[in-house]
Symmetry: C2
């Protein structure tokens, strides 16, 4: 069976950098944005739309309650969401079957549980995450620290809701992961080397 590393992460914690570095060390595949592209191709839905469904409040596309019963009424958003969730699972499983790989986000820790992935969660103190975002922001971005913080919290809230919706588990709860890594005081390069070493 191929060996899979899944990385859940708080926005701005450096989870993506960690994943990339681990994949480089191990010379294995790395999937992040590629997953959206793949689902978009399969469902023939625009990448932006797929991303919105996968990252923003999937809860809005639930069946609508009428009286005391739940009726799965016809709802194009719901129909599309179901296809997208289903294609997400298929895509992740295809990736896991293809070769060893690192997968960022997408509830891959849960969806690929039969593949015994190494389930990593990356987090950091808010101050450190803001610093990281400011350092990496495009030059023309003019968000205040307050606006940035709000945006980050909103993004993580959506990730958390989405994770709970798909898995039924609490996002970031350490019992659902094998390793939780606080990047506030750690050097991501060293951590990547360490995880690669564990994995070899």
């Amino acid at each position: 069976m191929n060996r899979i590393i899944t990385i859940g992460r708080e926005f701005g914690s450096g989870g993506r950098e960690l994943g990339k570095r681990i994949a480089e060390h191990l010379k294995i595949a790395y999937y992040d944005r590629e997953i959206i592209t793949e689902i978009s191709k399969k469902t023939k839905l625009a990448e932006e739309y797929v991303q919105q469904i996968l990252e923003n409040k999937p809860i809005i596309s639930f069946p609508i309650t009428i009286g005391h019963s739940l009726y799965p009424v016809f709802n194009p958003v719901l129909e599309n969401s179901s296809s997208i969730y289903s294609e997400q699972s298929n895509t992740l499983i295809e990736m896991a079957q293809k070769s060893d790989c690192v997968i960022i986000g997408r509830c891959a820790d849960y969806i690929l549980q039969d593949y015994n992935p190494l389930r990593v969660f990356v987090y950091a103190d808010m101050e450190q995450k803001i610093k990281r975002c400011v350092d990496k922001a495009p030059k023309d971005e003019n968000l205040s620290i307050k606006e940035l913080k709000q945006q980050m919290q909103e993004l993580d809230k959506n990730r958390s809701k989405y994770y709970q919706f798909i898995t039924g588990n609490k996002w970031g709860d350490k019992k659902n992961y094998d390793l939780c890594i606080n990047t506030t005081n750690l050097n991501i390069k060293d951590v990547a080397e360490g995880i690669a070493k564990m994995f070899l």
Copy 2:
């Protein structure tokens, strides 16, 4: 400054084994029971008594409330507890100043915060912890699984209370650690190698 690794751990999760293996890899000092012995020597109190104060319900030795005020009344247990807590801090600081080291438990992550330790917390699923305890139990131990589980839960409850009492923080809350390691599905030998690699 010397480099310190502190390891907090749930009972039966293999935190001690992980600490020992890391210390062996890095060829650095390892402190666990040695801390109790040292405090016992300094306070001239029996090791068992020191251990009881440090591991069991320090809360009972709080000043007693009279009316609406708190009076630090004379209380030999309280006096001894204060000496023990104080000697614990001194001992940990001496150890941290002496050389690179791995320290098990004793709120060392908090007490040695000025030394920027790598703060590790080790945990596992109950089933796995029970399996580990059964495998390592002395042959003449005849606890039922139910009794063992109760004992483990009681021990962790005391650790949690003690940690909260000394640090004001929640024991096992991932924000207080740099790495949280779930040993349920991991090979402790591999993890030790990985952490040693991060630390080198």
